[in-house]
């Protein structure tokens, strides 16, 4: 039964990929790429990767689609050129694909429990993580504790991406003088026009924020953690921007504040490592943070997830603000 679901999803993925190749209208291409991400997320669920599915649905479908749409809103909406040398490219692609397929001949069968990948480090993580770290979600314990350095690097990468986007594009500034009515957000007339949207969004924003906090703090017990929570938190702010306009959203949280929050998140993460060193352990060895290793692990994981969540949230909102303040999109 699982095999049928697997095959169906993979077939749809293939068809979507082929459609992305053929279609010229960029809006359709972006929507198809969103569908592709969602199909991937479903595929990850059938392959037991629930954390990954959550992240792919939140990050890959949500944020990537929003950013792509902002970009075509500011540039062009249709592809104009024909493919360059399609036959030669097809040949190159087929040869590369054949070589890769030849490479998979030696790989273990799908789902084989005796594959080499399951023999060395993974059994130790699965069997010992409850005893050494105390969290139910093995992925969170590996992400935050066993492989904490990688996650620190990832947080810094997100921070750097935010820096790069702000440095490349920047903001066009808030309306300090000029038309008061525009600066107040939306006029009375526009408010009445978009009444349904405004009411529904107002109803949903607190629920979304609450759900983001739930995902943040339940990373230990179920799928979740800092990344997903940060993205969901950012989506509430994006929602508010769609409702009230960029100026009102920038007055709620200004880009300056967001930069400080992003830096604070990375600082918190690195600071936990420095704190553990000052208390006598290695960098990011949470055991020394408290009297008891398990409590120390819990505190360490909690703090770094908060750091990750705040950095991801602020960078995503910062990037969205930067993209939305382009001339083509300001309303």
């Amino acid at each position: 039964m699982e095999l049928i679901i697997d095959i169906t999803l993979l077939t749809f993925l293939g068809l979507t990929a082929l459609a992305i190749n053929r279609i010229d209208k960029l809006f359709c291409v972006i929507m198809l790429s969103g569908i592709y991400s969602l199909l991937c997320a479903s595929l990850f669920v059938t392959m037991d990767a629930v954390d990954v599915a959550f992240t792919e649905a939140a990050v890959g479908t949500g944020i990537a689609t929003v950013l792509l749409l902002s970009t075509i809103g500011a540039t062009e909406t249709e592809q104009r050129s024909a493919p360059h040398r399609p036959l030669f490219a097809l040949l190159v692609v087929c040869v590369t694909g054949a070589i890769l397929v030849y490479g998979t001949m030696d790989m273990p069968a799908f789902g084989d429990p005796n594959a080499p990948i399951h023999q060395h480090v993974a059994p130790r993580y699965v069997q010992q993580s409850q005893h050494e770290i105390g969290s139910d979600n093995i992925v969170t314990s590996i992400l935050s504790s066993y492989r904490g350095f990688d996650t620190l690097g990832e947080t810094v990468v997100i921070f750097t991406a935010g820096l790069a986007v702000v440095g490349l594009i920047g903001f066009r500034g808030m309306q300090k003088f000029g038309d008061r009515q525009r600066a107040a957000g939306v006029t009375q007339n526009e408010m009445e026009q978009h009444l349904v949207l405004r009411i529904v969004i107002k109803m949903f924003i607190p629920l979304i924020l609450l759900f983001a906090l739930y995902v943040q703090f339940h990373g230990d017990f179920g799928p979740g953690g800092g990344f997903q929570a940060g993205v969901i938190f950012a989506s509430a702010f994006i929602f508010y921007t769609l409702m009230s306009g960029l100026d009102a959203a920038m007055r709620v949280v200004s880009p300056r504040t967001l930069s400080y929050i992003a830096a604070l998140g990375v600082l918190l993460y690195g600071g936990v490592g420095i704190a553990t060193m000052l208390m006598g352990g290695n960098y990011l060895a949470y055991n020394v943070l408290r009297h008891d290793p398990l409590h120390g692990q819990h505190l360490g994981i909690f703090l770094i997830e908060v750091g990750v969540g705040t950095t991801v949230f602020s960078v995503m909102v910062l990037i969205f603000f930067a993209f939305s303040s382009r001339k083509g999109l300001r309303q």
């Binding site: 097809l90 692609v93 429990p113």
Partner: protein, 117 residues
């Protein structure tokens, strides 16, 4: 050659090659970035297929369950997804800058403008 054993990997390779084809043939910068996204997501499918254990369940400890899928590739792919979207964001920022400078996002027209400078 057992098809059921390797079907996932072959489809992942097919998607990878489709993404690769989109990147190298199309001249529109945004389509290239979407193709790159396609490529990276197919690599994720490959890794997660490697992690699956038959009869296992999601790697969240539940009393009574003995076999779990391998959690290590999940962690690696979590990082990869977020890094991928960060790269896409920077790429799109560059596309916006190119549009400001050249007035177009088609590679041929950009090259023409460059040659005529």
């Amino acid at each position: 050659m057992n098809i059921g054993a390797h079907y996932n990997y072959w489809v992942a390779i097919f998607l990878m090659m489709t993404g690769f084809y989109v990147v190298i043939t199309h001249g529109n910068l945004i389509k290239k970035l979407v193709g790159l996204n396609l490529f990276t997501t197919s690599v994720f499918i490959l890794y997660i297929s490697l992690a699956k254990v038959k009869g296992g369940t999601a790697p969240i400890l539940v009393p009574g369950v003995e076999v779990y899928s391998n959690p290590l590739p999940h962690v690696l792919i979590l990082t990869a997804i977020v890094v991928g979207v960060a790269t896409t964001a920077v790429g799109l920022a560059l596309v916006l800058l190119i549009y400001d400078r050249y007035g177009t996002i088609e590679e041929d027209e950009i090259r023409l403008k460059d040659d005529s400078l």
